[in-house]
């Protein structure tokens, strides 16, 4: 028998004070013969002394700290170890009181599986829901609901079924990938290690059997290579290696890899370990990567495959579990530690907080200890991130207080899908599919025929003051005169109504543009031409807008004017403010402006008359067949 070929299963246990969690762990350790005799002897003695009882108090085995034993409560996450011939187990034993959300999150962060305890006499309680929510939030892939104290309800099947159904109903809102139920009595040992004879109606496995057999092989992400460089090993001039732990994916000798953020490309020459070179490495292997070319790569950089990139983002959103004694202060910078990078970040917004007991979204307020909320961050440098749901290693970060150095929060990055779903609270895909079914019976061809035009979205991008709005309205006039049906959307008319709830933070701007894109899409769907005038300085966001509208209908027009010319024309004083450092995210001054790579048309704003601009636009629309059908030519 080869004892070294076993897997580790990490699991966390959550339950409230009286659910019998400590008893369960004690029973698990004791019945699987993992308690040492001297520990047992001291347990017997303490049980007698404290409770004057002859029955063993297993909870004394797990309440480690003197302070805890004196108060009779568990304060902190405790780690326990036991093994069976099939697996070795690491238990994160987390206390379940309301004020310990932080500990539950800590225990769940590394767990493959969570055991949720329910007292059969009480059924699904608010605490149960909270535990389930936190476990799901932390992305624990397997959940076992242990319905405990079955002995106290005469081992009745109907009690078990009712609790199982109640939990299942609730869990539909949570998307737990693998959910199981076990009826159990930790006190009597039913279905903990050995199967119970008191519940013949239950044909499933005991808890330990489940823990030994649950398939965890696919819990890891083996698709997206992410190798955060941790340490540069450079013992002499002839060796330069990048040491790190494979966060996800598989890296092989000979692979072409791209280094972020520099975007330099090289090939893997060798994967070095103390025990020799290996042909491939996968998570969680710790190796040293040697590349074929000399590259300037250091800690905090990330090696990835060229055609599978993480998102490179300064700006992102995350669900945050707040762990600090002081509430989150949106005015204050914090450090974020993400993979092997630690950098400063600003909090743009707390979108909402979630009441962990009801799962209701509450109005955003500064998060306080043990609260959970959705937060928008902007970091000083880009992070290389994936959505937490897809990648636990590159989707997670901790928040550190810059004054006290305490770890005050844990963040889980939310998928940044193509703009469609950017900051919005999206419908589930099922709902989206439903809505699609209700489109009307008028075809796009019919609309095009009636209106005499093909719908399109003309997107004017450029610096503030380049003349976009003036051109937009001049174009509208001309198209109207030509008999076309069109609508202008610009920053002002949209900000006054449709997006007036949004601020000018990066997230606010992104959502603003997303809504505009959706409106343009609706207009186009109804045959109408949309003329949009928005600075929209971020090329990636414009690409997302094109995706929403549909690439075929999206006509990108670059109104290109020199910065100084724009600033001179500016009567609103915005440039002066931005240059004085009072306006953040101002394109060309306090934020970059990415010119389009391949616009349908470029209009030199400073050198062209309005009439010229409109004439060129109309010509472009003709080449794009927008106006080809039956628009009347006026001489």
């Amino acid at each position: 028998m080869n004892f070294t070929q076993k897997e580790i299963l990490r699991f966390s246990t959550c339950g409230s004070i009286d659910d019998g969690k400590s008893t369960l762990i004690g029973r698990l350790l004791h019945d699987s013969k993992n308690v040492y005799e001297d520990h047992l002897a001291s347990l017997q003695e303490t049980s007698r002394r404290r409770n004057f009882a002859e029955e063993l108090d297993f909870s004394l085995l797990t309440d480690g700290l003197k302070a805890e034993r004196e108060q009779g409560i568990t304060i902190d996450v405790a780690y326990r170890y036991f093994s069976t011939p099939r697996r070795t187990f690491i238990i994160a034993d987390t206390p379940g009181h309301e004020q310990y959300t932080r500990n539950m999150a800590t225990g769940a962060s590394t767990a493959n599986l969570a055991v949720l305890l329910i007292d059969a006499r009480n059924g699904v309680t608010i605490q149960t829901k909270r535990h389930a929510f936190i476990v799901t939030l932390l992305g624990v892939p397997h959940v076992v609901v242990a319905i405990n104290k079955m002995d106290a309800v005469e081992y009745r099947e109907d009690v078990y079924n009712a609790i199982r159904d109640a939990f299942s109903d609730f869990a539909q809102r949570l998307a737990i990938p693998d959910l199981r139920f076990v009826p159990m009595s930790a006190l009597k040992g039913d279905n903990v290690v050995t199967r119970s004879t008191s519940m013949p109606w239950y044909n499933g496995e005991s808890l330990l059997e489940l823990l030994e057999s649950v398939y965890i092989g696919s819990d890891r992400n083996l698709v997206d290579l992410r190798f955060p460089v941790q340490y540069v090993v450079r013992p002499h001039m002839d060796f330069r290696g990048y040491a790190g732990t494979v966060a996800s994916g598989v890296i092989r000798t000979g692979d072409e890899v791209l280094a972020l953020p520099s975007q330099q490309v090289s090939r893997v020459k060798a994967l070095v370990t103390y025990d020799g070179e290996v042909p491939e490495a996968y998570p969680p292997m710790a190796v040293t990567v040697v590349l074929e070319d000399e590259r300037d790569i250091s800690r905090g950089d990330m090696l990835v495959h060229r055609h599978n990139l993480p998102q490179v983002e300064r700006h992102f959103e995350a669900m945050v579990v707040w762990m600090g004694d002081q509430p989150l202060d949106p005015a204050k910078p914090y450090w974020l530690k993400h993979t092997t990078q630690t950098l400063r970040a600003r909090i743009d917004e707390v979108r909402y907080r979630t009441d962990v007991n009801t799962l209701q979204r509450m109005p955003a307020a500064p998060l306080t200890l043990n609260e959970i909320g959705r937060v928008v961050f902007t970091a000083t440098k880009p992070l290389f991130v994936d959505a937490y749901q897809r990648n636990r290693e590159t989707g997670s970060f901790i928040i550190i207080d810059t004054t006290t150095n305490a770890t005050v929060g844990a963040g889980m990055i939310i998928a940044r899908e193509p703009a469609g779903r950017l900051p919005a609270q999206t419908a589930s895909s099922a709902t989206a599919a439903d809505m699609h079914a209700h489109s009307g019976s008028i075809t796009p061809e019919e609309r095009a025929r009636q209106l005499g035009q093909q719908p399109a979205t003309i997107w004017l991008t450029g610096l503030v003051g380049a003349g976009k709005t003036a051109i937009a309205y001049a174009l509208e006039r001309r198209l109207f005169d030509l008999g076309a049906t069109c609508v202008v959307l610009d920053g002002e008319n949209v900000r006054l109504g449709l997006t007036r709830d949004l601020d000018f933070s990066a997230a606010g701007r992104a959502e603003h543009l997303r809504r505009v894109a959706e409106v343009a899409k609706l207009l186009n769907a109804n045959g109408v031409i949309a003329i949009c005038a928005f600075a929209s300085p971020d090329a990636a966001q414009r690409a997302q807008i094109a995706e929403i509208v549909g690439a075929k209908r999206f006509i990108e027009v670059f109104v290109n004017a020199p910065l100084d010319w724009c600033a001179q024309r500016d009567t609103s004083g915005l440039y002066a403010k931005a240059r004085a450092g009072q306006l953040e995210n101002f394109p060309g001054v306090t934020a970059p402006y990415d010119p389009p790579c391949a616009p349908a048309l470029t209009l030199p704003g400073a050198e062209i008359t309005l009439d010229d601009a409109v004439a060129r636009l109309v010509a472009t629309l003709r080449t794009h067949k927008v106006l080809s059908i039956a628009v009347k030519e006026t001489p």
Partner: protein, 299 residues
């Protein structure tokens, strides 16, 4: 085993290496506590692996009470020389002169271990110190962090530890503060021996059973070496035994055993019914004694 799966020892190894690299990258002056025992042996091997083909980027520190076994000193000097590690030996001025039997284990450990350790860390301005402690060893260790935060006086406050999520360790310190790092946190005693077997790591011969002439006192088998002496009425006994855990001569007991090879020790570990610290007198002085020692600055 399926493809792309690591054995539990490989997983533990990878985790420990990750921790060591993190510390080497983020702290100015790390040091590795070296206590000559099996846990230190494993820790040093893991460090060699973490920085291969480079050398250890930090020195080893032995806090010497002056009461260790002669075999341990011999092993220490030879081993550290062989692997080319820098070794710092720090002794308290009273090392070897503060008789534990006269002063009690608590006080002895406080001065010769804790005080000496704190002095050594301060004198060398070390801001991170690796220790081989494992959570499984003792109750109060079960809640210890991988990065155990210590204040300016090296003290541990169980209520003021930083939450540790994922593999993200918070390395931010104010001046004067330090951390103790426990890269073997998730290892059990059995894992340690299995790893020693798998990697053929050299260990002090005292771990292997042989016939030794010992002194039996209060159920403990103690070595008949200085400063242990027979008291009136006590007789030496010759028994097959080995040391399961190595400490100072006066307070380290042996266990009866016939395990003369690592494979036999591993086998013994799989059936053993008592914890390793049962042979360390120091832990039995009073209820929660480990917790008290840690609060004062012990590992």
């Amino acid at each position: 085993m399926q493809r792309y799966a690591l054995s539990h020892l490989q997983q533990l190894e990878a985790e420990s290496i990750h921790i060591m690299r993190e510390v080497a990258a983020e702290f100015e002056r790390p040091v590795m506590l070296y206590s000559i025992g099996k846990d230190s042996a494993v820790m040093v091997r893991l460090a060699q692996k973490a920085f291969h083909p480079g050398k250890l980027p930090f020195p080893l520190l032995h806090v010497d009470t002056g009461y260790k076994f002669p075999e341990m000193y011999r092993f220490r000097d030879q081993f550290t020389k062989e692997i080319g590690a820098e070794l710092i030996v720090h002794k308290h001025e009273n090392a070897g002169h503060l008789h534990p039997f006269d002063n009690g284990c608590q006080k002895c450990a406080n001065i010769l271990k804790t005080q000496a350790l704190l002095d050594a860390l301060r004198l060398n301005a070390f801001d991170a110190a690796f220790g081989g402690a494992r959570r499984e060893e003792e109750k109060s260790r079960a809640k210890e962090r991988v990065y155990s935060f210590r204040d300016q006086f090296g003290q541990w406050d169980p209520k003021n530890q930083r939450p540790e999520l994922w593999q993200l360790y918070n390395a931010k310190l104010h001046k004067g503060e330090s951390i103790r790092v426990f890269p073997l946190s998730n290892w059990t005693e059995l894992d340690v021996w299995q790893y020693i077997q798998q990697e053929s790591i050299p260990v002090v011969p005292m771990y292997f059973a042989k016939e030794r002439t010992m002194l039996e006192r209060k159920g403990q088998l103690l070595a008949l070496e200085w400063p242990n002496e027979l008291k009136s009425g006590e007789k030496p006994v010759t028994v097959w035994c080995r040391f399961r855990s190595l400490g100072c001569v006066p307070c380290t007991g042996a266990v009866r055993s016939r395990a003369t090879t690592i494979a036999q020790i591993v086998e013994e570990m799989m059936t053993v019914r008592t914890s390793e610290r049962a042979t360390r007198l120091i832990d039995h002085d009073q209820d929660g004694s480990m917790e008290i020692k840690k609060r004062e600055g012990y590992f």
